[in-house]
Assembly symmetry: C2
Homo-oligomer: 173 residues x 2
């Protein structure tokens, strides 16, 4: 997402931005087309002019979220942090928005990639395939082979547990 404010966006961009917002606190099946349209100020009758399906919109939102997250969070953490633990913690903390916005609720706003992965089924093959690509690219950025996957599992596991409980930071085990 650029620094564009919502009212400068077109309806298609507002739908994508709204989808990203909703997926921070809700799972895929609970985000409905009507709620997406309401948030974007788009009439429901126009929705299918912009996207073929809800899955199609969420796919666009995942793509937009990954571009932003990779450039604004993952790449800077790789440059800035010198240990695996510090890097993983920095990335994980960036998945918990802070501040006065609607995302900073007690729901434990978390990584939308993990949230969508945990809430789709065989009925959303496009989302599953795209998430597989995103996770594979992300793991490769975090380390070679198994080490990158271990870091990504640590990040995603702590975010998931964090939806319900305060997880203590870990000393190296």
């Amino acid at each position: 997402m650029t620094a564009q404010t919502r009212h400068e966006m077109g309806p298609k961009e507002r739908l994508v931005a709204g989808a990203m917002d909703l997926l921070h606190t809700q799972s895929y099946p609970s985000v409905g087309v009507q709620a997406l349209c309401d948030l974007a100020g788009v009439r429901k009758g126009s929705f299918y002019h912009f996207f073929a399906s809800k899955e199609d919109l969420i796919l666009a939102a995942l793509n937009e979220a990954w571009e932003t997250f990779r450039a604004d969070v993952v790449e800077p953490a790789l440059l800035r942090e010198t240990t695996r633990e510090a890097r993983n913690a920095a990335i994980r903390r960036s998945c918990h928005p802070v501040g006065p916005g609607p995302l900073a609720t007690s729901s434990g706003a978390g990584c939308i990639f993990g949230r969508v992965a945990a809430s789709i089924t065989d009925s959303e093959p496009l989302l599953r395939a795209r998430l597989a690509e995103i996770f594979t690219e992300w793991a490769a950025m975090l380390g070679d082979g198994g080490e990158g996957w271990a870091s990504l599992a640590d990040i995603q596991g702590r975010l998931l547990l964090g939806f319900t409980v305060e997880v203590p930071e870990t000393v190296q085990v």
Copy 2:
């Protein structure tokens, strides 16, 4: 769950067993009362005779699932496996049912605790509180303080990633 077959169970037990089945492949919002009743062979009009709400039934299912999982999976793995990696892998593999049953789908059937944690919101405070207790008890079984949480994060993170992608086993990093 005991070795009771479904047709020997009463309707309340069948509702709980069916909820556990559905939550292996679906998220909390997509599991509806109608589907739960259909699976249990209970008329929808009778549902609220057994449970005050869907949340109330899912709470009972989480309790039943945790009792079984702790006794049949976590405790034996702690007794049998001698390394942290082997123990975590054994527990994780037990979250992926195998065999010809309806759970062994390509959806990547996963841990129902993680799936529910990732798909509830502020509207399900009872489930969130119970999951916090379950995760805290589970982490304490896996190790003292941060070490137990690191193991549980690894298990949950790999299960979540496994919904979309084949995650390679990791050498110790």
